[in-house]
Symmetry: C2
């Protein structure tokens, strides 16, 4: 706790590559990628290089009401195409499984459109107590890396990308093992 | 022509930083970012670090009918939130202004929702004959870098990100001047 883990784009891209390889090795063949915005935008676009599918996005803002609970609110949803999710296999992508609140919300919402299956892929799974759950109907959960409950500094949030990547190289040894 | 320009994530992120600085220096204060998918996803998320706004996405697939014309088709549109664009200042983001067909299509569609203003930001502007036009109602157009009509190899399309970035460093000197 209190530590900050700096990750470079190269590291993230490598994690995506191994994540995609595991999804393929598992025999899961999704029909569509759904990216949770805005954290899932970059991981989802990277995944598309290895698993070439259309990407739909859902925009979620997690509200912190009275510091009690993150309550997700829709910024953008799938609307006219959501009916197309019926009977489809969805790969839901986000950057991190942190409190799990957003994942639970999105999984439950997506399931109301009767997909054939919904799987989850995240870059990082934080090993910590969760406020949300992965619903029972989700049979496939892929995490690129399991990590401690540290602050992850993603490269896309960097003001100075060169300084950020230099730090990332220094902290590379602190990354958890590939799951 | 025939050349291939390899770009690293660091280079792209630096281009986004200077692009965002120019948008700010120009006094443009958008209310919302609209990213054109899937090429605009990563640039838009990077821009958000410097210009912190909600990102909406539109999914476009460019069809090549009989090799004559790229015809964009909607994969995802904004739907229930599109009415919220009325009276708003939009920053439309894509990775490249190539034939300009997709930009013209998206700008025209967005304008039907009566925004206060729609500006365009692209990482790269290819200096070549265009099949589409930037409509007259667009007063602000920002391109990170003006380049020749070369094939741009974006890092997110790389199978092997380390090999890609090594090539990017080699070809860095071939990048056009910052616009």
């Amino acid at each position: 706790m209190g530590d900050k883990l700096y990750l470079s784009y190269r590291q993230i891209h490598r994690t995506v590559r191994s994540l995609a390889a595991r999804i393929k090795a598992d025999g899961f063949e999704p029909d569509v990628i759904v990216a949770i915005g805005t954290g899932g935008f970059i991981p989802a676009r990277m995944i598309k290089t290895y698993i070439d599918l259309p990407i739909l996005t859902v925009g979620i803002r997690a509200y912190d009401s009275n510091n009690q609970l993150e309550r997700p609110r829709k910024i953008q949803w799938i609307d006219e195409v959501e009916k197309k999710l019926t009977g489809k296999k969805i790969l839901l992508v986000d950057e991190v499984d942190d409190t799990r609140t957003t994942l639970e919300y999105c999984l439950t919402e997506l399931n109301s459109h009767s997909p054939a299956e919904t799987a989850v892929a995240v870059l990082h799974h934080k090993q910590k107590p969760k406020l949300g759950v992965i619903p029972n109907f989700v049979e496939r959960y892929y995490a690129g890396v399991d990590i401690e409950d540290v602050w992850i500094a993603y490269p896309w949030d960097a003001e100075d990308i060169d300084e950020h990547c230099d730090r990332a190289e220094l902290s590379e040894s602190a990354v958890g093992s590939e799951a």
